[in-house]
Amino acid sequence: MISYVARRLLQSVFVMLAVSLIAFTLFRFVGDPIAQMVGQETSLEDQARLRSEMGLNDPLITQYGRFVKNLATGEFGFSYRTRQPIGEMILSRLPATLELGFVSLLISLLLGIPAGIYTALNKDGFISNSILVATLVGVSVPTFVIGIFLIYLFGVTLGWLPTFGRGEVVEIGWWKTNLLTLDGWRSLILPALTLGVYQVTLTMRLIRSEMLEVLRTDYIKFAVARGIDYRTVHYRHALKNTMVPVITIIGLQFGGIIAFSIVTESVFQWPGMGLLFLDSIRYVDIPVMSVYLVLIALIFVVINLMVDLLYAVIDPRVRLKG
């Protein structure tokens, strides 16, 4: 078990190093960092001084080492655009994105898991088939169309919910949260739904197909032949086995939601990291982009690690192998 965790950790370190190399390449070679930083009036001597002060004349390997060391110690550097430290910028945007991702994941699980189980257990029922057809729409309509549709319906026509921004937030230390005010929740609903719709369909279909597979196995048939309650068979024996592969996908989904909430954040002007990233692209703010890249990779790696550990908790075969 310990070696299992250690191996996963080591793999994670390698992944992070690889990603940081890409981020470094982006930072160092897409355009000249000095030219981006200084104005036109700066003399060539000043530019050369700045270059050597920043260590841009050092061997690349030294520069990369410094880059990784800075990242590891939380020195993310400064944005070209706003001249603010990137660490602060991201930290102020992170809660918005995390809360949005978390709520939409919750929506996708709360709707997707029961719907998946229902459609698996009542395979050919009318309601099941209706749900399946309805979710087909969810998969095929692009996120921004859903977002605009929701804005039009609930924001413009019905006027029930706000269509942009985070609404009223409460500050807990540096963390600004939506989740403690009614207004915050009202602002959160539409973007979270938009982001969640696709995930709901994915979760549901995944659970359904996995569960159908599990219900066909001998151990489920054997449990039925032993006269064990259908409820126990379905919700204990079958569901636990269904969740093993599903957990991986849900973990990756959560990573995906956070990393790729860009479209939704832009539709709803949600002040999260996605919007920050979009602005950085617009102004070619390369340091922010490379830090964003590393951060997203870190989120994926951490989620994956948690999924692997969860695997070991659920499945005894993994636990003993390691």
Partner: protein, 583 residues
């Protein structure tokens, strides 16, 4: 006292092409403490009867007529809820594969206690005590210590014992055992059968034992019902049915069973395989005949042999296969961080020779390395030490062996599962033509077709098969297509890895007859791998016994089967169901 009485039971499945009758007008009785064998080949409807008794007939199948009486209740009239209460309580079922019939995510204790508490209102502690007592009864050592283990921590035989404990924990009166030992090695099979027999005797449980294996029936059944295509062919006490069968089908079936005590030159009197009825076209290739194929094979064999002798006359008296000090090690799944992990040693110190025209049987239980040996020879697995040579030419480990190595043609393999060894997307003609094209044996398309049609006739298949796809054939027919395919490569050595274990006995007899004929005719060598000693007896001139990747004994087949020297060989022979009543 009669426990179960099935009267006039008919089960039908509606299909797109009308109703399919799975079983028709079946009558069957089981008394308390009786072990009733239900035997038949695939498609005979054995499992359908088991499913009906358990009330687990899968839709769209339905009971068209008849009833199933158990202790005075007609089970077919029960509603699903009442039926479900009966399952576990009065009816239990043992499944074929112990590897898959236990839930991998729950401990043995958990599964046992849930089941006990489902049917009796007892506290968790007393359920646990009952569970431990049961595990003890079915022969699990240190039941108290092992009850909290997960299923994957038990071996196959032990798992089947756990399954039996699970079935027993609610004291059912009738147990349906569907091929309970088919997935197990002989020595474990024997112990499980003894356990079942004791249960029937001591607890008075009636057992409906469904199997295709007459040996299992002969070993423990009191009475036996023989099924064929959904109908009862013969019923009676086991000794009568097996030793003095009266029905033509049963007589044929018994004649097709290979006996460990006796070597037959050919199986006589075997049941004809059902011809595919959908083909009434008169399509055929002109000039094609079994004789033509035979002639072609002979001619080319002679040609190739002359060539070989011309090239390496010094080597001409070499054995077809020499395996010397062979070791195969599979690389470890997780390489160790701090200590060296050498991986799993599947074979070590294997030495044997195989001469032209000789059949060498390789026997052993699962995990003994039989299949690894076959793969190492044909080059699907790399060996890590030792050497393999053929006709004096070295065969390198698979990944280093040249694609063009001439031995690749001379060594052909026939796989166990004919359902996955033929590509379902290609016609039989495309499948068979491949070796001819690849080795440039026949270049003209017309000649090729004539030869292919002929070779099909040689393996007793209709010429029309050329235009069909593999899925249109039964397992036995597919295996014959596979044999035809390897025959067309003009092999010196045919490696057969359990060629008949996926087949019914009567079809197995066909395939074994065919292999014997071809081997006689073309003087091939065969490496015949099987876990079934009786089949090996029919085929092999010499035998190699493997255990845990090492050779335990090798020698003349007749000597091995009458007076084996190694302890392990004696054990294997003793525990194989002997069918001595047949003699």
């Amino acid at each position: 006292m009669t426990l179960l009485e099935i009267n006039n039971l008919t089960v039908r499945y509606p299909t797109r092409f009308g109703e399919f009758t799975a079983i028709e007008a079946i009558d069957l009785n089981i008394s308390e403490g009786e072990i009733h064998g239900l035997v038949g080949e695939s498609g005979a409807g054995k499992s359908t009867i088991g499913a009906v008794v358990m009330g687990l007939l899968e839709s769209p199948g339905y009971i068209a007529s008849g009833n199933v009486n158990m202790l005075g209740t007609d089970l077919t009239t029960l509603n699903p809820t009442d039926y479900h209460k009966l399952r576990g309580n009065q009816l239990g079922m043992i499944f074929q594969d112990p590897q898959t019939s236990l839930n991998p995510l729950f401990t043995i204790a958990d599964q046992l206690i849930t089941t006990i508490q489902q049917h009796n209102e007892v506290s968790e502690n007393s359920a646990r005590e009952q569970a431990i007592a049961l595990l003890d009864e079915v022969g699990i050592d240190d039941a108290e210590g092992r009850i909290d283990d997960f299923p994957h921590q038990f071996s196959g035989g032990m798992r089947q014992r756990v399954v039996i404990a699970l079935v027993l924990c609610t004291n059912p009166k009738l147990i349906v055992a569907d091929e309970p030992t088919t997935a197990l090695d002989v020595s474990i099979q024997k112990r499980i059968l003894v356990l079942l027999k004791d249960l029937a005797r001591q607890r008075g449980v009636g057992i409906l034992l469904i199997t295709h294996d007459i040996g299992v029936i002969a070993e423990i059944c009191d009475r036996v019902t023989v099924l064929r295509q959904g109908k009862v062919v013969e019923v009676g006490p086991t000794t009568n049915v097996i030793a003095q069968p009266t029905h033509e089908y049963t007589i044929g079936l018994m004649a097709a069973i290979p006996l460990i005590g006796k070597r037959l030159e050919r199986f006589q009197n075997i049941i004809a395989e059902e011809a595919p009825s959908d083909d009434n076209t008169q399509w055929h290739v002109s000039g094609a005949s079994a004789e033509y194929a035979e002639h072609w094979l002979h001619e080319n064999y002679t040609l190739l042999q002359n060539q070989q002798q011309a090239v390496a006359s010094a080597n001409s008296d070499q054995a077809i296969l020499v395996v010397n000090d062979l070791e195969v090690r599979y690389p470890p799944e997780n390489p160790g961080w701090f200590r060296k992990n050498l991986g799993y040693q599947a074979l070590s110190d294997i030495d044997f020779e195989l001469n032209r025209g000789e059949v060498l049987g390789v026997v052993g239980e699962s995990g003994s390395g039989k299949s690894t040996l076959a793969k190492a020879i044909v080059g699907l697995v790399d060996y890590t030490r030792g050497s393999i040579s053929s006709n004096g030419i070295v065969l390198e480990p698979g990944s280093q062996r040249s694609r063009k190595h001439e031995a690749r043609r001379r060594l052909q393999m026939i796989f166990q599962d004919p359902y996955s060894s033929l590509n379902n997307r290609r016609t039989v003609e495309q499948i068979l033509a491949e070796p001819l094209k690849f080795y440039s044996l026949v270049d003209s398309r017309a000649d090729r077709r004539k030869l292919l049609a002929s070779v099909l006739q040689l393996v007793e298949m209709p010429q029309q098969a050329l235009r069909k796809y593999p899925h249109q054939f039964s397992g036995g027919q597919r295996q014959r297509i596979a044999i035809a395919r390897s025959l067309l490569c003009l092999p010196d050595l045919l490696i057969c890895d359990e060629p008949t274990s996926a087949l019914d006995v009567s079809i197995q007899a066909h395939v074994l007859n065919l292999l014997k004929d071809l081997q006689d005719e073309f003087n091939m060598a065969i490496l015949f791998i099987s876990h079934n000693l009786a089949v090996v007896r029919q085929m092999a001139d010499r035998v190699v016994v493997l255990k845990d990747g090492e050779v335990v004994e090798q020698g003349d087949s007749d000597v091995f089967f009458t007076a084996p020297s190694a302890e392990y060989s004696k054990l294997l022979l003793r525990e194989t169901p002997s069918l001595s009543i047949l003699n």
